[in-house]
Subunit: 281 residues, 2 copies
DNA sequence: TATGGATTGGAATTATTATTTCATATTACC
DNA sequence: GGTAATATGAAATAATAATTCCAATCCATA
């Protein structure tokens, strides 16, 4: 008997999808129902599930048996396990995954780790965002003529996404990145009527800090996204946000920073279109 | 009888904590267990839970009755409902937030929306990742001499983070981005001993697709991250991943793509150091 | 320290639920 | 179109689990 019983939901899902074609009508019907309503399978009784799926309880059991389980009960365990997994707190999972990855537990653990790190970061920031700072930052950026976006190295992807989004929203912006070393000149054009979004995390890229210093001395207001109040960026900034990103395998997640950056960008876009509408009226 | 039965987990929890003092010893024991191990209550049988908590099944029922339920079964429903809520909530919340933001419900809603979109995407991908494809992609990339990273526009931030991480891991890589229009030359150097990570989502940037086509015709294997099997990228790729990112306010999250990209990168780094260690031994 | 009330343990009972069985229907193949 | 194999429905049965009940124990109070 080659019949290997799926022990986790993903394997089960894959097995079902694979055999989909070769299943008899009623069995296929319940297979579809199972993938669409996994929660119902986890909690329902054989009778209730069968009724919801429009089949007989016995069909449900045959379905389980075809998959190699010895009955509905063992099939149900897989669906229950799935719910447990999902709900176990992300922090715990992250710790476990880090340990797993340390001892070389395969590549899947690495993937799970990055997902968990991202989720943890998002969880964290959603409770932490200071709404007043957020409004201040939006106000400040909304009235800028040009928004300069400043970030190096690890933070650079965020800056490039901000620049992309600002462009889409038709907000004049300038990404300070030039590989050709023209940053000094670029910065020179910035005036107090402009504004800067600066992003930097420990270890702070010296170039980013230096450029932030210069630009703030020109009187250009800075909105900073950084990781602590001790950050050198914080002292140059008019408004700053503290974002704690979880890391995995030495690389920090960017998900919380990205979410904040996008929210800022879109909110600024919205505020601008609001006020231009008012001006016309 | 003022006895109002708690219908949701939070009320239940509050009720238990409130009465904690006045509960008899064994009942208090199971009350503590219930709050510490809510999942066990949701999934277990009266007998198994009682055993884990070190009491008799009858005590468990008395506990339920003291809280106003008519038996263990009705108490258990509350614990089960809690698990369901948790899982379904992100999609629903996202829909609600979208509606809120539509009707102009302030900037906080925009932020929440982006966080929810990111969380949804992560949730989704963590269940969907095809492990075989993942391993194939890692194997393919690990043996490449140079890894080319190809992405335009919205996907570009991901590419730049990959390039950053590959650099940190001392893996030779080349970001195909050149604003100076030297892409054709850059691509020309790629050989079948190299590999490409290509990222593109609908609407696919024509330049990205075209470059992927050219480079695959040179026999360079491509690992693609895209959004559906109909993606033009998929046809050029040796291995491809489907990532469904939720969007908010017209901007899609990058969190799932980022997590996958980072996992790929780190896994490749790990595989390389493994095999070089073997070679030395 | 005796007494009544509350609490608890453990087994008996009842209810619920999964599984099996068998008759019937459907399908695929000759 | 007939026949065997397969699939399905429905009810009977077996298993499992919740609940109840009663005796034993504990605890507070007089």
């Amino acid at each position: 008997m080659d019949e290997r019983v799926p022990r986790d939901f993903e394997t089960l899902r894959a097995t079902i999808l694979e055999r989909r074609q070769s299943l008899p009508k009623r069995i296929a019907q319940i297979a579809a129902y199972a993938l669409d309503n996994p929660d119902d399978i986890a909690f329902g009784t054989a009778a209730s599930i069968a009724a919801s799926a429009g089949v007989q309880p016995s069909t449900l059991i045959r379905f389980a048996q075809q998959l190699g389980f010895d009955g509905f009960t063992s099939l149900q365990l897989v669906f229950r396990e799935r719910l447990r997994e999902r709900n176990s707190s992300y922090d715990e999972r992250l710790a476990a995954l880090r340990a797993k990855a340390e001892e070389g537990a395969g590549h899947r653990a690495i993937f799970d780790g990055f997902v968990a790190a991202a989720s943890t970061s998002l969880n964290d920031i959603s409770g932490r965002l200071n709404e007043d700072h957020f409004e201040d930052a939006i106000a400040l950026l909304a009235k800028a003529e040009t928004i300069y976006v400043l970030a190096k190295r690890r933070s650079y992807p965020v800056a490039s996404y901000i620049a992309y989004a600002l462009g889409k929203l038709k907000i004049r912006n300038q990404l300070i990145e030039s590989a050709a070393g023209l940053n000094a000149e670029m910065i020179g054009f910035a005036s107090p009527r402009d504004a800067v979004i600066a992003i930097s995390f420990s270890p702070y890229a010296p170039a980013a800090i230096e450029e932030a210093r210069v630009i703030s001395e020109q009187g250009v207001p800075i909105v900073a996204i950084t990781d602590s109040s001790f950050s050198p960026l914080a002292q140059f900034a008019k408004v700053w946000f503290e974002v704690a990103e979880a890391d995995f395998a030495g690389f920090r997640s960017l998900s919380a920073t990205m979410a904040l950056a996008m929210a800022l960008t879109v909110a600024v876009g919205e505020k601008r279109s609001d006020s231009s509408r008012k001006r016309k009226a």
